[in-house]
Symmetry: C2
């Protein structure tokens, strides 16, 4: 069962209710065909998910931070930067370096070895860190418009660069924010990985999208976005050519998608103008999450078409934000069915009421 | 990226190594076709994964614990017990109750509603808690042989009971142990859920297993178990008709499978004798994990064939144990590719050296 990370242990009260109708509902994710359980019985009011931690003290610069200006020698050499002056010195406003512990690296071949049971290949690919601002203490949601746009333009530049590497079949852009999301580095940064295989995960989504296209002639992602905009009850932001919503079959509380309102399969295909508008939307949505949930830890991920499928009309790039408010437990691990203890319509209303 | 939960934040040292060959390896899970990254570069020595927490103080009984004898009124009425005396009073040695916050409940129909985009159904199914012992402070690995056997016989009894419910299409048996695994209840217990749909997760595994059967005439699970026993380097226990190993493509450090050495698709199909032998193996393996990793939090899950497929020769029931030593982060969420910071051969050797 998923457990609310913020819920304290306690003694259950005596429950005299074994013959009530179930208060939970199953909802099917239209993109993966996976079901989730929306557990109304366990659900708490949206404001109960607010993080209870103290707002952390964050200095504007930290002399021991490898991402702060002046400490460029503490990272691997930069592979790209928006800057004045020479590489690997101050003067940059967005800076990309190879990950110091790369999960994947360029110097290898993508040849498979081993048999059907033990198939393997070298860890070939790319793994970079995008330092989004020189300011140690400015999370993405607090960046100036211009700085957020520059960060997103760097996302796109690195997406396009990784896309060209011959070993790379798919590009994953993501951010880990906070300890519960998998990072202890405070300085604002995102990561980008080019994988030498198309993730099975994405193959499965393509199978669903392809069938839908064959059945209807449409893009399942675009059609769901259209339906979410029509239904309105889960929409938390609309404008600039993007829509943000809490998906109907969200796997966890306050899961938020940002999707373009017209068909673009890959993040690498967005125009400069779209990138700038997207930066504003992303900053606005992250800032809302931070304000209304008291700066929770979160991950975000940009989902894009695999490179070989970029021109098929089956996919819509989008970004999903997963606030890390709950713990995945044995049932989810065993079944792949997530239990969401919040109701997406209610969490969306909560966000909208507070604007 | 996955992060080691026990690793403290710190300043990276200067890394002068951008042109080294990659130290990571991709390995393919033969059952799901998903790849994992075994990150040798980030890997730490197996003993560095040991939990650093103090051994918790656990009294033999806790007057406020709803699962302790004498507190039967604090739980929903029991649905099964191995006991002397009347229901819902002391005298039991294994006791099953409906979950107080059931994710799924019997009183509903499995009819779908909604359209292609927003498909839903009532949360029909079963959700029970199996209290494995009256002793508040005895984790499964410390139970007497007899008590462990009785617990597993209850697992089987409830598996078979849930299997008979007309709404139930698959049964998931699992345990959450410790806060990081999703529970704050110390008293030893497992949970069992009957779902009204076959998880997509399991459908995908069946597609792979079916193709393998069509190609080879064999069961992919039985064949991999045979290969793991032959390779030996990842095996941590063998005997009683079962084998335990750290899978070749483990998604996280010290992931451990226990599988029968002959073909049985569903946990519900095991004999009484097999159940008793399995109980001994499970207790031995959990005890080893607890001793050598300092009582880590973990989940275990029993994977079984969906009910409608129990008699197909494609699946082997097995139990997987996931010690919760690391944090899943954005890359895993986005790609489904897990980064494992330990090498399965090394973690298996670590376990074996310490016996």
């Amino acid at each position: 069962m998923e457990r609310d990370a913020s819920r304290e242990p306690g003694i259950p009260e005596c429950p005299v209710r074994q013959s009530r109708p179930p208060m939970s509902e199953l909802r099917q994710n239209p993109f993966t065909k996976e079901w989730v359980i929306i557990a109304r019985d366990r659900a708490r009011r949206p404001d109960e998910f607010k993080s209870r931690r103290e707002p952390p003290e964050r200095p504007a610069a930290d002399p021991s931070c490898p991402f702060c200006p002046g400490n460029e020698a503490l990272t691997p050499p930069e592979v790209a930067a928006f800057r004045v002056g020479s590489p690997n010195a101050p003067g940059w406003w967005v800076r990309t370096v190879t990950n110091r512990f790369p999960a994947l690296a360029p110097e290898a071949s993508g040849d498979r070895s081993g048999d059907h049971y033990f198939r393997r290949m070298a860890g070939v690919g790319r793994h970079e860190v995008i330092i989004e601002t020189p300011a140690h203490n400015l999370p993405f949601g607090l960046l100036s418009n211009h700085q957020a746009q520059e960060a997103v333009l760097m996302y796109r530049a690195r997406y396009l660069a990784l896309r060209e590497a011959p070993s790379v079949k798919a590009v994953i852009l993501f951010k880990n924010y906070g300890e519960a999301a998998g990072t202890s580095l405070v300085h604002p940064h995102a990561q980008i990985v080019g994988t030498p295989i198309v993730p099975e995960h994405l193959r499965a989504q393509y199978a669903v999208a392809t069938q839908y296209y064959d059945d209807t002639g449409g893009c399942i992602y675009c059609d769901v976005v259209k339906e979410e905009r029509k239904a309105k009850e889960r929409v938390v932001f609309e404008g600039e050519g993007f829509v943000a919503f809490h998906p109907f079959a969200s796997r966890s509380p306050f899961e938020t998608w940002i999707a373009p309102t017209h068909h673009v399969p890959s993040f690498g295909q967005i125009s400069t103008d779209e990138a700038k508008r997207f930066a504003r939307v992303l900053a606005a949505v992250l800032s809302k999450i931070s304000r209304h949930l008291n700066d929770p830890d979160y991950n975000f991920v940009v989902h894009s078409a695999p490179i070989e499928d970029e021109n098929k009309p089956y996919f819509l790039w989008h970004l999903s934000i997963i606030p890390r408010l709950t713990t995945v437990a044995g049932f989810e691990i065993g079944s792949g069915i997530f239990i969401n203890t919040a109701v997406p319509e209610e969490t969306a209303a909560y966000m909208n009421e507070r604007d």
